[in-house]
């Protein structure tokens, strides 16, 4: 897991709808596969895997509650 400077996280606002995981995984694997997403969502916790590209903020486009915001 790693810090990601390009995305500000607000885990308290996250509803865990997992749209970010669905779109992230689709983008880099071609199928919907939340367990292969490079953003990891748990109650009260948002983190990014080591594979996650620092400059990519795709997931923030799909968040509807400002839990992840592109910086």
């Amino acid at each position: 897991m790693k810090e990601k400077k390009s995305i500000k996280t607000n885990p308290e606002a996250c509803t865990q709808c997992l749209r970010c995981q669905l779109y992230c995984s689709f983008h880099h694997t071609g199928v919907f596969n939340p367990l292969k997403a490079w953003i990891v969502i748990k109650p009260g916790e948002i983190s990014f895997t080591d594979e996650c590209l620092e400059k990519c903020t795709l997931c923030t486009l799909y968040c509807v509650c400002d839990a992840i915001i592109s910086q």
Binding site: T15, C17, L18, L22, F26, F32, L35, C65
Partner: protein
Amino acid sequence: MEIYGFSGWMLYVDLTEGKIRKVPIDLELAGRFIGGWGIGCKLAYDLIKPGIDPLSPVNPIIISAGVLVGTSVPSAARIVATFKSPLLATEEPRKYMIAYGTAGTRRFGWNLKCAGYDQIVITGKSERPVYLRIDDDEVEICDADDLWGEKDTYETTDVLEDRYEGCGVISIGRAGENLVRYSMALVDKNGTFGRHGLGAVMGSKNLKAIVARGTKGVKVSDPKRLSKVVDEMAEKIKQSPWLKPFHQVGAHAGWSAYKSMLHMGVWSVEEYDKHYGIPALLSVKRYSAACATCILSCRIGYRVKDGRHAGLETDTGHGVVLSMIGERLELKDIRDGLKYLDMCNRAGLCAYASSGPIDWLTRLYEGKAITEEETGGLALTRSLGTYLRLLEMIINREGLGDTLADGWILVSEKLGRDARKEYVWGSGGIQKGVAHMIDPRTWGLSANTLGEAVNPRAHHGNMSSALAGPPVTLDWVKGDLEEMAVSRDEFLRIFTPATYYGVFNAARMARHIEDRGNILNCLGCCDSNSIPRFLPVPNLAECYSAATGIETTPEMLKKVGERVSNLYKIINVREGFSREDDEFPEAWFKPIMTPEGPATMKDYYKTREIIRDDAHQLLDDYYDERGWDIETGIPTQEKLKELGLEEYIKDLPE
């Protein structure tokens, strides 16, 4: 052959033999039944033989993942469990219904699809407590001795989530283990298969939990096409004035209307609002929770921050359910309501269903209509202490609890009383063994509430439409029906004023709402999202076509909805159900005495009283709109032929 949208496999689990079988999904069935619960109904017809004992090993549990579950379609997170319900529906003759429960899921649904399975069929009975582990290609029946009788629903979920990181979990609690007939299974803590006793059916199989974890993913046929329609749907939801209120308070966003429409008359609306309104709910809110893919987010988790029961945390139950229980049991402190709810959640017990008999008996005791001799020596004074004691007894099937655990009809028989006649306040009306949640005397006899009476399984959720939210204009209702792919003739019939109802025909409308509800069950989309009209059938047809590659028009989807409605009806006709079981509950014809005055059953716009003759005519209209026999309420041969269901004609009574 590549499969899109669907995962491609059905899992058959025989708990008696300890055997697991994987069968490829027959996509021919998709043409007839779309998928998800549509195929689940077909399996239910094939596997649930008429007259079986619901708690016997032969009662299957069929879990159907919506076709669109695992994709990005907003609200596509629902799975449906179909099984014979252990709750006695009628006493003479004794009939049990084939029920279903739907659950929005946070992790289970997409995990199951990503593991490769669209359907799970569980039969038999394990000798020892077990849980089922579905982990991509590995499917195993695992020992659950450390969970059964030891861990409640939340603890079980925590243990299994720890063991299998990223998984989804269906779990029962002590109520299911002890075969309480209205016990539930919880899904990922927040979701429930409510009210009809799936918990007991799992318990009867010694099945404590089901775990699903999948890493293969869900493929779609035309990602760009899917993306276009999903973006359009998402944009509409994001622009909705409902979004922010839902993110703040979940389903309580409708409270300004619900406080009157879901009001049981125990308190004034003002007092109800004070104890269970938005400020009270916010005082105990811990988090907002959405099912996977859902932008709206209708759930919240709770924590008692201070005062009575400080520190209590619970994760299940919409605010409106908490409020209804609180009012009926006169729990003025919302924290007491949460204490009650939490005990039910952890035991896997339907809190709404349990609160009915408890309310009834404690009122009888208060009115000196029953004695301590009849209650087994218990003083049933109305207080949280009594309610929790009774809950404990129900969950453990001790003494009076053993009686209460069996549902309305058996409780009535054992006590020598008739709850359907006596318990008329705040019950929603008792019909087919369950009490309705939405009472037309306060809500109005909308197509939704009427639909609860005629649906084989009284399902407040599945009958969802714009009428299931705060009151809307006739134009808005018309727009909603237009989005359900009704034909021009159907539209005209629905919106021709009826002298025995009002400006539209609620009975004719109910049939189409039911068909659309079944489309949602097949696709896995959520009825809550249909209330603000986020799920027009044309959009759903486009989603299905793009996801699966099976080109489907809105009219075709509507037809499948109708086909599934008919098949589900046939399954229950086989069990002996007919029009007499759809007749409105007696309670609906008596007023509820509220502090604001008597509340009686009126049409949706509250312009006139609905009396018995009106009800009779409305039922006639419902069956007519369905193309069923009006006298018996049963599909006709002609209708089954029209729908390509000829093989089920043999199940029609002679």
